[in-house]
Symmetry: C2
Subunit: 343 residues, 2 copies
């Protein structure tokens, strides 16, 4: 008999999708970063839910405050991708019986901080007893017709761009998992900061959306490779990447450890940059608009008519695999990339 | 050091409430059945989240389909209380690695059935690996200014009413826990049906709300006693109950077991009737309106200026205690009433 662990996350999602009757007036397809509902009077509500489970999603050394904050910030990243301002947060908690009052207070403050950092308020929730610490976050915001750019509308010869470097989170996780790699304290601190204190690119996402600057967009919480494949698959276009943006710290960590730099950049996940396609004619405008709100836009390649996601490095062209972190898949491909499980 | 199990659910909620910065334009107070957010253009969104944790919330014998359905129906009951039509459902799942594909399919169909039964569609969600089966449901619906009746606005000399009998769920649970009580198969089937296939009083709630027929209202998922106390506390009024509506099946079960009938009716929980106060002048209109949508309204008492929730039985008046099922409190008062834990 097939079990959840044999199926893996994507097949499980598929089972759910197949068994959910599709709403007739679906404004955003099932599986995109947010769902949109017409409330009448031209008012559209955007909603999103995301669950954090401590035993699989929380790296060692993360404080309760950071756990609460991250549960919210990770969800806000999906709103950032679709250019929706978060207004309200609801939080459903499963709490172990042994969890301390001090931890509860820190967790609550963290949830509040995650919301307030992006202008939202926590309006309510639900608490339950459970074996794992589980935080299900729900976000609500207002949107308008035409405001949301989907994953499925990339065009040929668009510029592929991202809002920041990749690989820090993966390197930070690896620091925690493999203690045999000896690195400078300052380097470790920088990598762990990325892991413990993720930022959502809300200002960037709101700016891009308001000015209609992208042709397709997604958040990168499942890894850069996975996000590129998701845009490529949804849009039925190919991608050629010729630059993998990262930081000196990630390069240094790759040198010290036995992990290929490309793997840290491509297959990490739990980092919250935006990955998008931009029409060439809008590129300069998009770059400037993002710089005006204190962010940056990095060109990493272009779209093609032929499918597939490739990385062109000098004269070599290699395929970028369609993988990232997948829940339930602890036994197979996840292990090959990075040990992101801390049981 | 204080732990979650020492604090109990209400003190934990209090910790969260204290640490969440309050939104300046709060339309419905923290802790009421739903939260309401102004999306602009006169459009108000109502949202609600509820979590079901299998190890504490699912009685033995419940099918996966029923578990999925119940997770949604329990949340819809809160929308029913506030007269909001559910439009969209999001569902965040924590799934044990050993959970089977067949169970996943049944669960998905159950979630969909719970939504469709009340006119809503499941638009998306999130799946994660966790030790418990955890289902966090988020609901969204549209509402209007003035549509929502709060818990806090009961008036003196209002009629206290409910939409149906109480005690079946508690008796059904007790059937499962205490196998020494021998009852007729048909009786058992009736009690278990109430437990496994709860119904939300959505039509009743929508009718009451549309016509502004109640002065305060709440759903009864934490038990009749708890709901009465919650309305009483929020409204700063007292309640005198002179009738405890139940069924012949509950009476029969109480006779066969060692449990007091009043305890089954008052302190059970997980049943989804509406508990409300109605101005005397609107009573007949409210009764007729509810009958027109196929429901019923049962008068069980009246409100008073003096605080406290009392039950008048003949010449006796006894205090109704402020208790119901409370998560984390498995050791103390919950055990005294009904064993609702199945570890």
């Amino acid at each position: 008999m097939l079990r959840a662990k044999d199926l893996g996350e994507w097949k499980i999602i598929d089972i759910f999708h197949k068994n959910f009757e599709e709403a007739p007036d679906l404004l955003v397809p099932f599986g995109d970063d947010v769902s949109v509902v017409d409330l009448g009077k031209d008012a559209l509500a955007a909603i999103k839910t995301d669950m954090l489970v401590a035993s699989t999603d929380v790296p060692p050394g993360m404080t309760d405050w950071q756990v609460g904050r991250k549960a919210v910030v990770g969800t806000i990243s999906d709103f950032a991708a679709k250019g929706v301002e978060p207004k309200a947060v609801l939080v459903s908690l499963g709490i172990p019986a042994e969890y301390s009052k001090i931890s509860l207070e820190a967790l609550a403050k963290g949830v509040n901080a995650g919301a307030r950092e992006y202008g939202a308020f926590v309006l309510g929730g639900d608490t339950n007893e459970s074996r794992d610490l589980v935080i299900a976050v729900m976000l609500l915001g207002a949107t308008r017709k035409g405001q949301i750019t989907l994953r499925s509308t990339a065009k040929p010869n668009d510029i592929v761009a991202v809002t920041g470097p990749f690989g820090k989170t993966a390197a930070g996780l690896q620091c925690l998992v493999d203690k045999t790699v000896r690195i400078r304290r300052k380097l470790e601190a920088e990598l762990l900061e990325a892991l413990y204190m993720p930022k959502a690119r809300l200002n960037e996402g709101l700016t891009l959306s308001k000015r209609g600057l992208t042709t397709s967009i997604i958040d990168s919480s499942d890894g850069l490779a996975w996000s590129l494949h998701e845009l490529s698959k949804s849009s039925r276009k190919g991608f050629i990447v010729d630059k993998l943006p990262t930081t000196e710290s990630v390069k240094e960590y790759a040198k010290m450890s036995n992990i290929k730099l490309e793997d840290l950049i491509l297959y990490g996940g739990e980092e919250y940059e935006l990955v998008m396609t931009v029409n060439q004619e809008k590129w300069e405008e998009a770059k400037e608009a993002i710089e005006q709100v204190g962010g940056k836009l990095i060109r990493i390649g272009r779209t093609t008519r032929e499918r597939g996601v490739r990385y062109k490095r000098g004269h070599d062209t290699i395929l970028i695999e369609s993988r990232g972190w997948e829940h339930f898949k602890s036994g197979d491909q996840n292990k090959e990339t990075l040990a992101r499980r801390f049981r």
